[in-house]
Subunit: 413 residues, 2 copies
């Protein structure tokens, strides 16, 4: 084994999740204990913090506050949506990253994010190799969307799935309280993959879920949609529908975009609102009382409903990344191999960054029913283990007690 | 004491809450134990169930399922929004109610609801007195809006307040993750009273709450609103705003109605969306990136975030109603007298239905800051005790385990 001594940088990127900070905690606390890692630096707002030399010295933080990271939603170090150029076309950013790496003798780089972040991670890894600068680069996965390739599932998904299923079950109770007819449309995140919207079907398992679920994996047809809603509404007086924000027509147009290009009476563009748009369509065509609900940011930051399984796996992903890098691994992402055949087990493995970056994993068509408006048992069996367990969330005055970091910049020390 | 023997009816009415079923449980389980109450009947969809003779025999239910009622959001017996006529103008409904009461020898009537329901309760009570039919009538309060007169606060409010404060704190974390500017607008229920929107300020106490809070108690001025948002946004790069759905201009027009009378490009009426509308206004006038979030039904059915204090008080309200009625009381609503001077204590008392019905209790102007865009410490001190405590919510497969009632109709027995 090749012992490599130097500082490490941990950065977070892309949309937040409820448990991304558990992964950061796994990286930071493990790195602080590794003798060969001389300094643990947190990048402010992901790769932008490296480019701007805005790095926090994580060794200055209280361990008790770092312990609270796992219960703190969103990205504690700050996030970004910064896309690195192709280094063959423009290597300005890469040169700067190398310069900052050299300044702090950074020999370990951990990047905590989703699809785009694994692409960033991969590009940096390849550039450092090309330049002959020895730096071990590891991707730590996160995304509520669960669309990362090369892993059974992704940290962040289980907690969002649990939030969605629980909220759908509760809304179902509310939506069935009157003896008058109503149709409820719930809009769930997911532009290209339907893992999250599909998770609403967990609530159907306990008799309180959507009657119909629409994912981006199946082309959307408005007439068929209206016919399905009408049939259930006329038979039962109620209908609850869950839709991915990314549902699209056969020609590829997003259903939301197709309609929200309209402007209102003031000439303003209409904001978002796929749920409201579909609810309105149902009202116009079926005459039902409707309600559109958008779970919005709540579903990705609702850490009070985290899955303990997800939380522990998110921490494990960060810890594994550091241990593997110290042991000599580089150019990999931590992934999970799971076995559901006899209970549930999850083992961290390493995947080459190449096979992860820029590929979106969709819900298999076989896990969606033939009509394209519901999920099969195979989907449920896949998701159910990931939402298990209640974390012992610390509270102050009954409100969540989030980590309070000092965030001491190295340039201020 | 006058011992009165006969059946009782419990009905639920108005919008659901997270804990209204805890009150129903308090009524049902206490009534089932009282010797003078010969039969416990649950009205399907409130007073409509009485009018239609659709009554469930609650003695047929499993006690273990009744125990789960407190963890089950929304109204388990079904609700209604049925307004009884003035009996001097039209006594048809009252005659029918008396007929059904006589059919089952109903001598106790418990009505679990908010403002309108206490009016229903009051009218029935006065009618039965006028007709010389001995029946003890008790109101059991519920409303997330906390606008019932004659009580310190109302069951249902504390849990909704906790949901709102927790969700705002989580969204705050998410909304501050990027180093780019954003304005977030969160729309909260409350047409005429701002107790719920005000509760978002609890999150500000832990540093993760809205910068600005607007309640219906203060006339809204769009230009002042934009100026306040602009000042905070330009100074900090972020701004988070909480608004009551019921904010209105000085002339009384709701801000939402004033704008949503507009139609979109298809000639459809725009649906709801005060948050989206204000976010759009901010985008147009300030040029900020914006996000509008509507907490919608989630805030009133989010029982996974119930306050244990609220849950216990809701049960106590139901139990007290039965015990007081058996002891000879009638024509009253259970209310709370609280003392916050040395810790928090809450004692149930009885208030005449007359003084409760049809009066809306608003947030005192002195509890709102001078600028009309934030809450004072007095408001926080009032709300904070009501959100305390985590109930031990039963789960199955990590999802909530709601009560499953048999709902055996008397007419089917």
């Amino acid at each position: 084994m090749n012992q490599l001594t130097g500082a490490c940088i941990i950065g977070q990127s892309g949309g937040p999740t409820s448990v991304i900070n558990a992964s950061a905690q796994g990286v930071i606390q493990t790195a602080l204990r590794e003798g060969c890692i001389t300094r643990v630096l947190g990048a402010a707002h992901g790769i932008k913090g490296v480019l701007d030399d805005k790095l926090y010295d994580m060794g200055q933080e209280d361990m008790a506050e770092l312990d609270l990271l796992q219960y703190t939603p969103s990205s504690a170090l700050g996030s970004c949506r910064y896309k690195l150029a192709d280094p063959d076309l423009d290597d300005t950013d890469y040169k700067r990253i190398l310069e900052v790496f050299k300044k702090y003798n950074v020999r370990y780089f951990f990047y905590n994010g989703g699809n785009d972040s694994m692409d960033t991670c991969n590009k940096i890894s390849k550039y450092m190799q090309k330049m002959g600068y020895e730096c071990r680069v590891m991707g730590v996965p996160k995304t509520i969307d669960n669309d990362l390739n090369g892993t059974d599932h992704c940290p962040g998904f289980g907690s969002a799935a649990k939030y969605i299923a629980t909220s759908c079950a509760e809304v179902w109770q509310d939506a069935h309280v009157y003896d008058t007819g109503t149709v409820t449309v719930i809009e769930i995140m997911g532009r290209h993959a339907g893992w999250l919207a599909g998770s609403s079907a967990l609530a159907s398992r306990i008799g309180c879920g959507p009657d119909l679920v629409y994912l981006p994996e199946v082309d959307f047809d408005m007439d068929e949609f209206i016919a399905s809603v009408r049939e259930i509404y006329e038979r039962t007086g109620k209908c609850m529908v869950a839709v991915s924000e990314g549902i699209h027509y056969a020609d590829g147009r997003f259903v939301s975009e197709a309609e929200t290009s309209a402007t209102d009476g003031f000439g303003h563009a209409q904001l978002g609102g796929l749920a409201a748009m579909l609810a309105n369509e149902i009202k116009e065509r079926i005459g039902a009382k409707v309600r559109g609900i958008e779970l919005s940011l709540l579903q990705r930051c609702g850490s009070h409903l985290s899955s303990k399984t997800d939380l522990e796996e998110a921490f494990l992903a960060g810890k594994t990344a550091v241990e593997a890098a110290v042991a000599g691994q580089t150019d990999k992402m931590v992934a999970f191999e799971c076995d559901r055949s006899n209970g549930y087990s999850c083992v961290p493995v390493l995947q080459p960054l190449d096979i992860v970056a820029n590929i979106e994993k969709k819900v298999p068509r076989a896990w969606i029913n033939d009509a394209g408006n519901g999920l099969t048992d195979a989907f449920i069996d896949f998701v159910l283990p990931l939402v298990q367990g209640e974390p012992d969330t610390p509270r102050e005055n009954a409100l969540p007690r989030f980590a309070r970091l000092k965030k001491v910049l190295t340039t201020d020390m």
